[in-house]
């Protein structure tokens, strides 16, 4: 069985007054059913852009320039607008960043679940809709009574779980969670992550988890993708990433994490992330890289696949293929 999600060379640019900013420069990766990918990177590195591009929700002045997003054998980029409306939630679902405000304040939860079902399946009877809502709420550990409630009557964690329940209503093949645990306390964070884990197993979807929290990533994902200036720098398994990162940026990122055995010493990464409008020639990380070579300042490193299937975009590994 092939991968359930394949992203090939996805490119997104924003056309601003100051020029064209390439927010996503040819990202490629694939995920199997049931796999969890953590997408990490600094603010503005293109994590959310990638998620929105996969949903085909990039709005002007942004544009998807090239690439393919293949979910379950269907290339989303070739679908018509109407077909894409159907594919959202059905093939690929997105759990928004601000779950706190992602529910309509003036209608009941059941109405917001029912309209999602009805948008994809007009024939469904009221009874079926109610049953599916109840089932979805149950699978995120919420009581059926929640369906009759309004968003303001729910706690932050409950709202986040309602969003998860909505996103699994049509059993999508891929679920993208955009920082699902920001603004939640650690106990609730863990509960939400466990809920995501469980519904993922129930419907056999692949999960993409976007976030900054490396600790949370270490506990919950199978693979980690590190982004920098709109590029995937390294994609490897979570164990490899934390024990033996290959890309100098990934190394620096892992080294910057606080450790129990090395208290008080933080190693930051010198310099600042570049503006997308004025990227340095060659590898975008070269001005901050301790191992930069001449070629890094001239040629953009291609992504190479190392042993074990991990991919790295760095000239250090170009000859080791």
């Amino acid at each position: 069985m092939g991968p359930i999600l394949e992203v090939r060379d996805l490119q997104v640019s924003y056309y601003t007054d100051a020029g064209r900013a390439t927010a996503l420069a040819g990202a490629s990766f694939s995920l199997n059913a049931g796999e969890k990918l953590g997408l990490v990177g600094e603010s503005g590195s293109g994590k959310s852009t990638m998620a929105l591009a996969m949903m085909r929700m990039i709005k002007p002045p942004g544009r998807i320039e090239a690439g393919q997003v293949i979910v379950d054998g269907v290339n989303l980029r070739e679908l018509s607008e109407a077909q894409m409306l159907q594919a959202r939630l059905n093939k690929i679902a997105y759990i928004p960043q601000g779950a706190m405000n992602s529910l309509n304040p003036v209608t009941r939860i059941e109405a917001q679940m029912a309209d999602a079902i009805r948008a994809h399946d007009k024939q469904t009877t009221k009874k079926e809709i109610a049953a599916r809502c109840r089932q979805a709420l149950e699978s995120v550990d919420l009581k059926p009574q929640v369906a009759k409630m309004y968003a303001h009557e729910l706690s932050g964690g409950m709202k986040q779980r309602v969003c998860i329940a909505i996103s699994i209503l049509l059993k999508p093949k891929v679920i993208i969670c955009d920082e699902p645990t920001s603004a939640l306390d650690v106990v609730t964070q863990r509960q939400v992550m466990e809920t995501i884990d469980r519904v993922k197993d129930q419907i056999g979807a692949a999960v993409i988890l976007i976030g900054h929290d490396m600790g949370l990533m270490a506990q919950f994902v199978d693979k980690v993708a590190v982004m920098y200036a709109g590029r995937l720098m390294e994609v490897s398994t979570v164990r490899e990433m934390f024990t033996d990162p290959k890309h100098p940026y990934a190394k620096a990122l892992i080294n910057s994490l606080p450790r129990l055995d090395n208290k008080g010493v933080f190693q930051g990464i010198p310099g600042l992330a570049p503006s997308l409008l004025r990227l340095p020639p060659g590898c975008p990380f070269n001005p901050r890289c301790s191992q930069a070579m001449d070629i890094c300042r001239a040629v953009i490193p291609p992504s190479v696949t190392l042993e074990g299937g991990r991919t790295v975009a760095c000239h250090l590994y170009a000859d080791k293929v």
């Binding site: 959202r88 309209d115 309004y150």
Partner: protein, 333 residues
């Protein structure tokens, strides 16, 4: 909605009405004018009786209406009669009662006021919401612009322009009055009702054209805020059609503050109606009020102001009681 809250609102309503009627009681009385003397002086001038009888007549009417008593006593008489729903008689059009005057003119005002306010509310909010909706086609979004431009034109000027171009030059619609002269008012005859409707078009237009723009602007402002809300974005991620998002997520939320605005507008339109009714010669509440003010016919002024106060205050309470139905967040307090 608790019973306690409803009772509280109603007590507040009574207090507002009392305060407004007290203020309006004293203000016309600051004027030295006596409407009875003025009326009989006018009659004497055209030769009804000799001027020396005037003082005797005025004095006897003053006694009849209790105007010779001290002001504070008149005030208590007034409050107690209002409490019995007795608004007294018109001093200028005696023996017509104030209630009769209000009831004769009220339907004209209510129909015009209600229809125009609701129409401009619906039209303005719809156009404003569309104007702020990025997915609507450009021609549809620009429909709102002419109304925003017309916003600066006061209803009177609008009325004059409409009268001149449509009524006088093009002769498409009648120039004024409530119905054609020579017609007998008969609300069961269709031709009379159509005739009245035809006479109402220009006054209605002059009120609507200028007020749609205000709704457009406030709705467009709300719309821009709402469309950036996370729940609208999540609705798009759910794969809902644009129409469902527009109706249930965007418009439904943007409309909430507008409903409060509607209640306020229903209150203020009465005053702008005075001018429009005078301009078009409509026998509405506004015209009766302006005539009463000119004659210092204070019992009529009291009656109409009291009536408007009650209407506006009641509308406010109704809106406040209805609001929780529109916005569930207000239900629990």
């Amino acid at each position: 909605m608790s019973l306690k809250r409803i009772v509280g609102r109603l007590v507040f309503l009574v207090l507002v009405i009392w305060a407004a009627s007290t203020i309006t009681f004293f203000i016309p009385r600051l004027s030295p004018r006596n409407p009875i003397r003025e009326r009989f002086a006018e009659l004497a001038r055209i030769g009804g009786f000799s001027p020396q009888d005037l003082e005797a007549i005025v004095a006897s009417y003053n006694t009849k209406f209790g105007l010779d008593k001290p002001l504070w006593q008149q005030y208590f008489d007034y409050v107690s009669s209002v409490a019995r729903f007795d608004l007294g008689v018109s001093l200028n059009k005696y023996p017509k009662t104030v209630i009769d005057l209000i009831m004769e003119s009220l339907p004209w005002t209510i129909v015009l006021l209600f229809v125009t306010t609701i129409l401009s509310f619906v039209l303005g909010n719809l156009l404003g919401a569309i104007a702020a909706w990025p997915r609507a086609p450009g021609w549809l979004r620009s429909l709102a612009t002419p109304f925003v431009l017309l916003m600066g034109v006061p209803p009177v000027l609008m009325g004059v322009l409409l009268l001149f171009f449509i009524g006088f030059r093009l002769k498409l619609l009648p120039l004024g009055s409530a119905y054609s002269t020579g017609m007998v008012p008969d609300w069961s005859s269709l031709s009379f009702i159509l005739n009245v409707a035809k006479h109402q078009i220009l006054p209605a237009l002059s009120l609507i054209l200028g007020s749609v723009g205000g709704w457009v602007l406030s709705m467009r402002g709300m719309g821009v805020t709402i469309q950036g809300e996370d729940y609208v974005l999540f609705a798009e991620h759910k794969g809902l059609s644009g129409f469902v998002i527009f109706k249930d997520y965007y418009l439904r939320n943007a409309l909430l503050p507008q409903v409060t605005g509607l209640a306020l507008a229903l209150g203020t339109v009465v005053t702008s109606n005075i001018v429009v009714e005078s301009l078009f010669g409509l026998p509405g509440l506004g015209r009766v009020l302006s005539q009463a003010i000119q004659a210092n016919d204070f019992l009529v002024i009291y009656g109409i102001v009291l009536f408007i106060t009650i209407a506006v205050a009641t509308l406010m309470v109704v809106v406040e009681l209805l609001y929780p139905l529109l916005d569930p967040r207000i239900r629990q307090e």
